[in-house]
């Protein structure tokens, strides 16, 4: 059986322990919210980078349409795409496109069948994959024809 003094120490310890636990809970909640905020900021940043990658793809000298060195916005040159796929050494572009998969497919007219995987450097073990699809104009220099396609960019992080 406890004597009076011992009992008070135990009471105080219990109170302190409960306060500590409450503080920990509050702090844990705060950390969780903070992490969620950080994660949102990073995802927003990644999403924006993904958009920039798409924009730079469409205006790049490697894939974009150009006439007399003037680039046509939102247009990919089908012959350049095929030439890029055939390139034996794509080491230079690993730094540009990073860990991503870039593909394009024809969607209009219905008779237009076109599917190309432009670049494939997928990550096996990833935390996040951002996929974005954007309609593009596809230009065939052989017959001077334009088609509508869908550019798909998957970025891994």
């Amino acid at each position: 059986m406890f004597i009076k003094g011992q009992l008070r120490i135990s009471e105080s310890m219990i109170v302190l322990f409960v306060v500590f636990i409450l503080f920990l809970f509050a702090f844990g909640f705060y950390i969780k919210e903070l992490k969620s905020g950080i994660s949102d900021k990073l995802n927003e940043e990644r999403d924006f980078s993904n958009l920039l990658l798409i924009n730079s793809l469409m205006t790049s000298p490697e894939l974009g349409c150009s006439k007399d060195t003037v680039v046509e916005i939102g247009c990919l040159d089908m012959k350049k795409i095929d030439a890029f796929i055939k390139l034996s050494d794509k080491e230079f572009y690993k730094e540009v496109f990073g860990e991503s998969v870039i593909s394009v497919s024809g969607i209009y007219p219905d008779s237009f069948s076109y599917d190309r995987e432009i670049y494939d450097n997928a990550m096996d073990d990833y935390d996040l994959k951002i996929v974005r699809e954007i309609p593009v104009s596809l230009y065939n220099p052989d017959n001077n024809g334009y088609f509508i396609g869908l550019l798909k960019v998957e970025v891994y992080a």
């Binding site: 302190l16 950390i31 730079s56 540009v96």
Partner: protein, 335 residues
Amino acid sequence: MFKKGVSGMPFVWIFIGIVGAMFLLFFIKLAFDLRNTSQDLNDKIMVLKVKDILVGASSSPGYFTKLSLPLVDGRILNFSGDNYLQIYKGDKLLGRVNMENNIIFSPIIENNNVLLWVDRWNVPFYASNFVFLITEDKKYNLRSSTITGDLGFRELDGFIKKLKDKIPFEENVEVGGRTYTPLRSGGDDKIIMFRASSGDLNCRGSSSNSDVEVIFEKETMDSDYIYGYVCYWDKERVPFIGKQMIYGAIFTDEYATFKTLSELSFERLKNLVDLYIERTEDNEILQKSFEDLKKALDKDFEDLSDSDLKKIYDAIEQLNHIHYLFVNERGRYVY
């Protein structure tokens, strides 16, 4: 004197005080750690945001604007020799990010208000967009060399004025006139000295009273594909092709950064030539011109001699001519 039951009271308060203080210290430390982590994260996000601004702008050639960068409290921005965007506070590196194949010619940026200009590098096809970034307070002085080489003083001055007219930073760039002390000697303005030569493209080095000397082949001065070398004070010469690379030399203070960016541009050019060789497989004549350019470029950047630059220039001119004929004949463009 306390009774037996009461004597425990002061001890309880001492105990509560000690444990309470420990709790308090623990949470204060956590709060400080959190503040530092949050600051680190904000710095990293700031670096990414600056990169996004520059990369976003780089896809719009001809674009000229005044920008306010999201740099705060005395942050300093620079581009390292390995093409990383770095932000410092004092000597402390807050964050760095790889600029990949984005070419940003810039001095050290020490305040938020900057001027940005984007120009296209065509050799002869579109090969890259160059971004030029300076702060509003920066001044650049373009001068003819006192030893004008193989070009008369007036002609050289005319060339420099034409070069200057294309630069939209009107308030920041001026042509000759007054006497300045170079930056490297504690002056306020960066001095860029120009010299034309026929065949002898060597820098004057110590005899030149400038921060940067641009020596170019006289025969190519009216061409878009003008070539020559850029010589930073007391450093090895760096080859260039095209006026955009001269602008790069004007606006980049660091030799290592300019060299890396020039090398990266040449590397991309080589890759593009490979791509165009595949692209023109149905046109032997054009393909042959691209192959000739590939051969001319097939040398280490650092080893490019005067004659190598001439070969590259000739191959570019020839390709441009063949492409012109092709466009006239078939009405279609390859680039």
